[in-house]
């Protein structure tokens, strides 16, 4: 009997002492997006926290789907913990979908925050980054969005969608970002978010009941970094060029004018890049070959695309257009920003390791002088459900 007592005691000890990390789901406040701003005191961290009651389809409430939570302090981790002092539930960060940096924050450097995000066990690696262009991250996170009630998830989804169907953004997760920052021959570029203007504020539920005229969020431009500091923005066209150069375009719409007012619209369905490098007199030069497959999306006017001689014209128009994008992106990066966001340095590193060791330390200067040529090849694939424009008059 004594023995049973002791065994029971030790098992109870073992069990009583368990459950340290157990937390019921309804005791968590699930953070979906984090905004980080630079302030005078240090940082302002904004959490977008789910309100499960409002999202649940069964219970009707008048509450907002998210609760915004902001705290200011000197140190990132301590701010995140600070929240517990005011908030009934511990903030849970494993489901963070977006991390939004305020523009000031990005310009001051994001390296220290990234170290924390990698080190803390709650943060996974599958969230994306964005920069609030011209505004603060907490502003961005405070905007409610229709269709997808949770703004953080909306931001995540539309970033992925705009990457695959628009080709002006790039989704960057923490490993990519860190690799870009620590690599000598590559600099990161992150998508920017802008708040679209509207008369009505978008931080109450009322916004979901109106149809138009509200504030919204939109991905626009790409922020170019040098190491971990934001130094400038690529415009929409330059962002496109950037994405073509790094081979990040999967599907995209382009249009060209074949005369003054009529346009041909293309749907890019595939794009591949190949960067080759050669060294002449200890000076590297690059050739970027971009191969693009495109369908015809629309033809205005009476242009007959089925004519043999017109085909090459159609192709040339698009090739020139794409070349323009790429060149403008390169020009911006080389002359204005001096930041190698395309990873040309890495290409040289792989091909000419010895040369790279010499020019590594001075790469941003070297990069600005780097001769780069573009060779865009377009392959026309399909013409859609109709061949010629139906309005083309047949000459019979």
């Amino acid at each position: 009997m004594k023995l049973n007592g002791i065994i029971g005691l030790s098992i109870t000890l073992l069990i009583l002492s368990g459950c340290w990390n157990s937390r019921e789901i309804n005791e968590l406040s699930i953070s979906i997006a984090i905004g980080i701003d630079k302030t005078e005191r240090g940082y302002r961290i904004t959490h977008q926290i789910l309100n499960p009651k409002a999202i649940s389809t069964k219970i009707y409430t008048n509450e907002t789907p998210i609760i915004l939570f902001s705290e200011e302090g000197e140190n990132v981790f301590s701010i995140i913990r600070q929240n517990t002092a005011e908030f009934p539930r511990k903030i849970y960060n494993s489901h963070v979908r977006m991390v939004v940096f305020g523009e000031d924050m990005a310009r001051n450097g994001i390296q220290d925050v990234l170290d924390f995000l990698l080190r803390d066990h709650e943060f996974r690696t599958d969230f994306y980054f964005a920069i609030a262009k011209g505004t603060t991250a907490s502003e961005v996170l405070s905007i409610l969005t229709p269709l997808e009630f949770i703004p953080g998830i909306r931001l995540y989804n539309s970033l992925e969608n705009s990457e695959s169907y628009l080709g002006i953004t790039q989704s960057v997760d923490i490993l990519d970002l860190v690799q870009c920052i620590i690599s000598d021959g590559k600099n990161p570029a992150l998508p920017g978010i802008e708040i679209t203007t509207g008369e009505k504020g978008s931080d109450t539920l009322d916004v979901l009941t109106t149809v138009s005229g509200k504030k919204g969020l939109k991905y626009i431009d790409m922020g170019v970094f040098k190491d971990d500091k934001l130094i400038g923005w690529l415009s929409e066209d330059e962002s496109k060029g950037f994405n073509y150069i790094v081979g990040n375009v999967k599907n995209n719409i382009e249009y060209t004018h074949y005369n003054e007012k009529d346009q041909i619209t293309y749907e890019i369905i595939d794009s591949a890049k190949k960067i080759t490098t050669s060294v002449v007199n200890q000076k590297p030069s690059l050739l970027v070959e971009i191969r693009v497959k495109a369908n015809i999306g629309a033809v205005d006017g009476y242009f007959d695309i089925m004519k043999k001689e017109n085909e090459s014209m159609v192709v040339n128009l698009l090739e020139n257009r794409l070349q323009e994008f790429c060149e403008s992106a390169l020009r911006k990066a080389q002359t204005e920003l001096h930041s190698d966001i395309f990873g040309f340095g890495e290409v040289i590193h792989v091909k000419y390791p010895k040369l790279w060791k010499e020019i590594k330390s001075n790469w941003s200067v070297e990069f600005s002088r780097l001769p780069v040529e573009f060779d865009v090849t377009v392959e026309l694939n399909k013409t859609g459900e109709i061949s010629k424009s139906v309005f083309t008059k047949e000459e019979s």
Partner: protein, 367 residues
């Protein structure tokens, strides 16, 4: 004589499990720290000379088909020197049996549940360990077949699922700093996955049902284990890049974090942990078993099963103090573990081999 007999297939599993368990989650950061993007070449090199090393072990032990390692040491080195080496060997086994629970506890309290005290994680693990050892070699060898299959399957599944995230650019430039760094890094890998297999000599020739074909299975098992370790290092570098790999603590787990294919195959990094703990468990039971059976030989214990429980408790206590923190642990691996295992795993068998040859030459002359 109720000698425990295991099949060749089980030897394969034990060797492979032993080789995977020690290395798969731990060695990639160290190797990437030394050889950067060429660490995978180091893994290949380690695999090649490791196979030769295993072959040497089988050559040595097949000369003494009815003895285990402790008996071989005592026969070749004499009573006093032999016993000294045996004590050192037992020290290795017991120390390692406490290290592995520490790794499991450290992993869990670092990556998954930081608020749980490590001794609690260790206690649950060590209970399983004690059950495993007390069930005996035969039962455990059978279980190791299942552990190896399940572990390999889960690991390969994870590696296949993470392939879409691979960037071939992370491997380039190949051999930027010459062949020397990969060679150096291979020493680290083999001190985790190759030299540790010395413990299998406790069972290798004497407990096998078909000793003639066994050496082949031994080498095959090692190669399978080496292949899995290689895959983990290769993909860590391919996906994470050498820089993040070398700076992460458990690279393969972070690697599995990257798995995201549709909705189904997302957030399943725990399968890497599952495969790791399965193979880790194989290694750990082997160490504990080797420790206890050599202790039994040295002190002439009649019923060695009776000391499992007290020793398990000792392991639990030892795991609490063995590494004060992971900074200590990472230094210890380089300055303690590598020379320690090389002494026992490489130098000792080589010495035994030489002594054996000398003795044979001497006795040959006499005949």
């Amino acid at each position: 004589m109720n000698k425990k007999i295991i099949t060749n297939k089980q030897l394969f599993s034990l060797a492979a499990g032993g080789s995977i368990g020690g290395s798969v989650l731990v060695s990639a950061p160290l190797m990437a720290g030394i050889a950067k993007q060429d660490a995978w070449i180091g893994a290949l090199i380690a695999l090649i000379y490791g196979a030769c090393y295993i072959f040497m072990l089988t050559c040595l032990s097949s000369q003494f088909p009815n003895m285990n390692f402790v008996e071989i040491i005592q026969t070749l080195l004499g009573k006093w020197l032999g016993s000294a080496f045996c004590v050192y060997y037992i020290f290795l086994c017991i120390l390692l049996s406490a290290h592995i629970p520490w790794y499991v506890g450290d992993f869990l309290t670092t990556m998954v549940m930081p608020e749980t005290p490590q001794y609690f994680v260790n206690a649950i693990y060590i209970i399983a360990l004690a059950i495993g050892v007390s069930y005996g070699l035969e039962a455990f060898a059978r279980a190791s077949e299942i552990f190896l299959k399940a572990g390999s399957f889960l690991f390969i599944l994870a590696m296949v699922l993470v392939l879409p995230n691979a960037h071939i650019g992370n491997l380039q430039p190949i051999l930027e700093n010459g062949i020397l760094p990969p060679l150096k890094s291979s020493v680290v890998l083999s001190s985790f996955s190759t030299f540790t297999l010395i413990i299998l000599l406790m069972i290798y020739p004497s407990n096998i049902n078909e000793p003639k074909k066994a050496s082949k299975e031994f080498v095959k098992g090692y190669i399978w284990g080496g292949f899995i370790s290689f895959t983990s290092i290769f993909l860590s570098i391919l996906v994470l890049g050498w820089n993040i790999t070398s700076k992460s603590r458990y690279a393969a787990y972070i690697l599995a974090n990257e798995i995201e294919i549709g909705v189904i195959f997302a957030r399943i990094e725990f399968i890497v942990f599952a495969s790791w703990i399965l193979t880790q468990f194989v290694v750990n039971v082997l160490y504990f078993y080797a420790g206890i059976s050599s202790l039994a030989h040295l002190l002439k214990l009649k019923q060695s099963g009776k000391v499992i429980l007290p020793l398990s408790l000792f392991l639990l206590a030892l795991a609490e103090i063995i590494f004060p923190g992971n900074i200590y642990q990472e230094n210890w691996i380089v300055f303690g573990w590598v020379p320690f295992i090389i002494t026992l795993g490489l130098v000792l068998p080589l010495c035994l081999f030489i002594v054996y040859w000398i003795k044979r030459l001497v006795s040959g002359k006499q005949v």
